[in-house]
């Protein structure tokens, strides 16, 4: 019936690889996962500007512990999914993407790092901070949108 090919966004970095399309209702499950994630962010105080300051001043192990543990758990999970070819709930093969190196990871990474230390937020905690009632962060969020848009606008002219 549907002969149109699935159009992928140019190198979308967090792609949806599910073949079966999902209804709005079905998408609610991602909001539930996000909600759990947001609660963890606040309860472990990861959204705190102070935690980020501690991390970049090497004065607390906390954030290194959080990120290190998360990476270990993620790594073991990915290993197990690949090793036992674990299928998704709808029975599809899990698709992983290899990333290719480009200079953007260096330049962009440094720029993001500078911003991360000022705002005390990477994009995830940004949403949790707003939900927590730090309304000033709405400005940070809008400005982050402007930054993303500006990147899109100048993308071809930037070194990659």
């Amino acid at each position: 019936m549907n002969n149109t090919q699935i159009v992928h966004p140019i190198e979308c970095e967090a792609p949806n690889e599910q073949v079966i399309s999902e209804s709005v209702f079905s998408n609610i499950k991602y909001a539930v996962v996000g909600m759990a994630f947001g609660i963890v962010f606040v309860k472990a105080e990861i959204i705190s500007w102070f935690r980020i300051q501690e991390m970049f001043r090497l004065q607390s192990f906390f954030m290194y512990g959080v990120i290190g543990t998360a990476v270990m758990v993620g790594m073991i999970s990915v290993f197990l999914i690949k090793k036992f070819n674990i299928k998704t709930l709808s029975g599809e093969k899990v698709i992983f993407h290899d990333k290719t190196f480009n200079k953007g990871q260096v330049y962009g990474g440094l720029i993001f790092g500078l911003g991360w230390a000022i705002t005390g937020a990477c994009p995830g905690p940004l949403f949790a901070q707003i939900g927590s009632g730090f309304l000033a962060v709405l400005v940070t969020f809008l400005s982050a949108l402007a930054g993303t848009w500006t990147y899109g606008y100048f993308r071809d002219k930037l070194p990659h």
């Binding site: 990474g109 990477c122 982050a144």
Partner: protein, 188 residues
């Protein structure tokens, strides 16, 4: 039970739950974890302006917008119903360093000296919200991901570019915190 939830969670507990987001998203819908992409989808949905980078079927990636909306709601729930009644415990060295820079409020997750609505239209607001936020949005997309997409998802999948990106995030953060912030605070 509620008391147990209300106290600040241990880093290992938080780390495990955050790490489990990776297989959860993969297995419930074949989705690769990554949060900064949501900013791109919002641009694509609201102001594509005929820019090729924003011309794609963002609706197919709508799951990511549901996810970040969930994060916002989660933040609201945790802060309003599960919050720790005590003040945040910050490393004494960090408190001493920040006091020297002029931070006076250590009672919230974010210092009110900086992150209050009153500061939006001030020089502090320009630097900490507008410029900082811009660098977060521009840098993450230029790098192709943020802490979630590169540091957690990418490294979990053993991607060398993600390790490089994560190192650069950290270098940027060290430079800002230890060399640039002291200069910035001299402006106030």
């Amino acid at each position: 039970m509620l008391e147990l939830i209300r106290q600040p969670w241990h880093w290992a507990f938080a780390g495990v739950l955050i790490g489990l987001t990776v297989p959860t998203l993969l297995l419930i819908g074949n989705k690769s974890f990554g949060i900064s992409s949501s900013l791109r989808h919002i641009c694509a949905a609201c102001l594509p302006a005929n820019i090729p980078f924003f011309k794609y079927d963002w609706k197919k990636e709508a799951w990511n917008l549901f996810f970040v909306f969930g994060v916002l709601i989660g933040g609201f729930i945790a802060t309003n119903f599960l919050s720790n009644p005590d003040t945040i415990v910050v490393s004494p060295e960090t408190i001493a360093d920040l006091k020297a820079l002029g931070i006076t409020d250590f009672s919230h997750l974010m210092p009110q000296d900086l992150f209050s609505v009153e500061n939006i239209f001030t020089l502090k607001g320009l630097i900490f919200f507008v410029i900082g936020g811009f660098m977060v949005g521009f840098g993450t997309r230029y790098a192709g991901g943020c802490t979630s997409g590169h540091a957690i998802m990418g490294i979990s999948n053993l991607q060398v570019p993600s390790i490089i990106a994560t190192c650069c995030f950290m270098i940027g953060g060290f430079i800002m915190t230890n060399f640039l912030l002291p200069l910035i605070f001299k402006l106030f």
